[in-house]
């Protein structure tokens, strides 16, 4: 009885404190205080939906498009790498993109990696080996461009996000911008798919900026899609293997659970009451 009485008193006291000191003042200011002004940039943000037709790896049966991953790697190498590192990926991993061992070795050798001169012991730069990781980037400007190894997992709906961001550059609607007094600050660039629409990265891609080794036409959308696919692979190299393993495990479990159900039914059969 004492416990219940104490409980009732404590419960009423907690609720009273909550209602009188937190809920009512909060409700009052919610009802009567003017709502906070939304950021002018909020009016310009547009939610993207990824590339038209989606990616080859979308869906539970999706697979890598090797040619696309190779093109995406080319975009990274010729465009992104001047500012963005890829520190969790090693050159040996490129063999997963369909390159032979010799090709991986040759590709690694086109990169220079900080290291020691074997003859003098001095700090120098050496041609990359397959066992090396992609080299760090020393960015001269302000801020730190993020490492891209995990970028598609570090953003919500990351593969589509990367594509949308790379294709979201442009100019804000001038009439609308004048109305709300919106201006992109100096040193930033307008991008309608970036959360606050002002991004420090200038538009990195433009049509025919590079020549694809496989002859695909290098439009901005094509390059954005290819590099988004490549960065999906760098973030989750096991994606396709994971799903294939998953189907195998699911199949086994369905079989085993069916057996478990049948044995459950059989064992309990003698015990179930007869319907009268």
């Amino acid at each position: 009885m004492t416990i219940r009485l104490g409980g009732i008193i404590a419960g009423l006291a907690i609720t009273a404190v909550l209602v009188l000191w937190s809920l009512l003042p909060g409700a009052y200011s919610y009802a009567f205080d003017p709502p906070a002004e939304p950021q002018p940039s909020a009016a310009f943000y547009e939610h993207g939906h990824g590339p038209e037709g989606g990616f080859a790896f979308d869906g539970v049966f999706g697979k890598w498009d090797m040619a696309q991953l190779q093109r995406g790697y080319q975009v990274y190498k010729e465009v992104c790498k001047s500012c963005h590192s890829l520190k969790f990926v090693a050159f040996r991993d490129l063999s997963q993109l369909g390159y032979t061992e010799a090709e991986v070795q040759a590709e690694a050798a086109t990169w220079t990696i900080p290291g020691k001169d074997p003859a003098t012991g001095e700090q120098t730069e050496l041609p990359g080996k397959p066992t090396d990781y992609f080299p760090p980037v020393y960015y001269a400007g302000q801020g730190v461009p993020p490492d891209l190894s995990l970028i598609t997992k570090a953003r919500h709906d990351g593969s589509n996000y990367v594509y949308d961001l790379l294709t979201g550059y442009g100019e804000p609607d001038p009439a609308k911008a004048a109305k709300v007094g919106f201006e992109t600050p100096d040193g930033l660039y307008f991008n309608k798919h970036f959360p606050n629409v002002n991004i420090a990265m200038p538009a990195p891609l433009s049509d025919d900026q590079l020549t694809y080794a496989d002859g695909t036409k290098a439009t901005t959308a094509q390059m954005a899609k290819d590099v988004a696919a490549f960065l999906t692979w760098t973030a989750e190299p096991s994606l396709v293997e994971r799903r294939q393993t998953g189907w195998f495990v699911l199949g086994f479990l369905l079989f085993a659970t069916t057996l478990a159900f049948l044995s459950y039914k059989q064992i309990w059969a003698g015990l179930k009451p007869k319907k009268k």
Partner: protein, 453 residues
């Protein structure tokens, strides 16, 4: 312990006889989860979740021990060693995703287990000790899960550790020294990461120990059941093995299918993208949210937005933050006195019309709202809604339950479990009659329902 008609372990071979004389471990298992444990015959699938919780504890320990072989608890390399597991360790991605989603599934089955306890009043005499040990396990699980989430050393790891240890900073006078002592510094760093790893490795074994006590305490009165009527006669029970090993085996299969679907097809759906960004003390994430299984309690923490002041004087008695901390811990600690708050002699919610209404239309929606608001940003109208829900949460346990257990007129209970299952007409005349099927005993599996000789 156990009922008079429980089957006795009889070693068959010379070897098992020898073992039984020296160390009767097989006998212990036989009596704990084998044919020697008589269980009410009418358990529904809500009684499956204890076994499932034990299963996921084992999943977490096994995957966790292997992950620990490849992980390094050092702020400089922790994030990179997790990526090493994901990329270079054979099936490391599978281990890590199984461990991360295994934590979520552990909490899912534990919440089902706890809500089974709420609805069927499993906490009532003679099972109070089982309930108390269960609350201890739940608290240990929360501590373990929190420290485990810090280990990948991503942004949410770091800032989650900052916020949660900051709760101790709300304690008057000694709060800040305690926070510094817990973290081993003024902010989460190597010292905190190392001790969290050490404790994250230790606590699951402490949990396993308390689980053994939990099961031991369970075997004194035996399992409860959906009618809430105690076992009266042999026909009320069936041996745990093979009846419930078979039923639980099927339930385990269904849950494993769901678990597999998450691990292999949506492994990051329950995580936060920010935790794939390495911890950075100089960059605060826009919204710091804990893992989903803490959301209801996080909502209670944030519901207290105003300091407790003396009106018109501006004198602060208790700061809002401390009120929130007290309420959050109190919301779980009050489960410890639950057996003494709800004094209705009837256990099962099925026979308690008033209790049942408050359960389905009060407690369950409240928990759903708290869950949703805990994951939402701390702005209106979520704050207002979570304040209403928090208020009802405390009223439900501390005021509603004691009062309805006093005024409620329960529905008539069946005489026995057998009567509840088979119906009045065919119930055996005399207690402990062997047959349950009203003269059709031949269909009953051999030995299972015969009186103990």
């Amino acid at each position: 312990m156990s009922f008079a008609w429980a089957k006795q372990y009889e070693p068959q071979s010379a070897f098992t006889k020898w073992i039984d004389e020296k160390l009767p471990l097989p006998r212990l298992v036989y009596n704990a989860v084998g044919a020697g444990y008589p269980v009410p015959r009418n358990l529904n699938y809500m009684w499956n979740f204890g076994v499932l919780a034990g299963f996921f504890l084992m999943v977490q320990i096994i995957t966790g021990v292997v992950l620990a072989m490849h992980y390094a608890a050092n702020g400089l390399v922790a994030f990179a060693t997790v990526e090493h597991i994901m990329r270079d360790v054979n099936y490391g991605w599978m281990l890590r995703y199984a461990h991360a989603n295994g934590a979520s599934f552990f909490f899912i089955v534990i919440y089902m287990h706890i809500f089974r306890g709420f609805f069927y009043s499993s906490y009532k005499a003679p099972r109070e000790m089982i309930w108390l040990l269960g609350v201890v396990i739940f608290l240990l699980m929360m501590a373990t899960a929190f420290m485990g989430y810090v280990l990948p050393w991503g942004q949410m790891s770091f800032w989650g550790a900052q916020v949660i240890t900051g709760l101790f900073g709300a304690i008057p006078l000694v709060g800040e020294p305690i926070q510094v002592w817990i973290l081993g510094g003024y902010a989460p760093d190597n010292a905190a990461l190392n001790r969290f790893f050490s404790l994250h490795f230790l606590l699951p074994f402490v949990i396993a120990g308390v689980v053994i006590l939990h099961i031991w305490a369970l075997h004194i009165p035996g399992s409860s059941n959906p009618t809430g009527v105690e076992v009266k006669q042999e026909s009320d029970t069936v041996p745990f093995h093979p009846y419930y090993t078979a039923k639980d085996g099927f339930g385990l299969g269904v849950v494993l299918i769901l678990f597999t679907a998450m691990v292999f097809f949506l492994p990051n759906a329950l995580g936060h993208p920010d935790n794939y960004i390495e911890a950075n003390p100089l960059s605060t994430p826009a919204h710091i949210v804990p893992e989903w299984y803490f959301w209801p309690f996080y909502a209670i923490l944030r519901a207290f937005t105003g300091d407790l002041t003396i009106p018109f004087t501006g004198i602060v008695l208790v700061q809002a933050k401390l009120l929130g901390v007290i309420a959050m811990f109190g919301s779980i600690l009050l489960w410890f006195i639950l057996p003494w708050l709800d004094k209705s002699p009837v256990r099962s919610g099925h026979y308690r019309p008033l209790f049942r209404k408050f359960f389905w239309f009060g407690l369950i929606p409240t928990m759903a709202v708290l869950f949703y608001c805990g994951g939402a940003p701390a702005e209106q109208p979520y704050v207002l809604i979570s304040q209403l829900a928090t208020g009802y949460y405390f009223l439900h346990f501390l005021v509603v339950l004691p009062i309805i257990s006093q005024i409620e007129v329960p529905k008539p209970l069946p005489f026995s479990i057998t009567e509840a299952v088979i119906g009045k007409g065919s119930a055996p005349e005399a207690p402990r009659a062997g047959s349950v099927d009203g003269g059709d005993a031949g269909t009953a599996p051999e030995g299972s329902l015969q009186p103990a000789e």
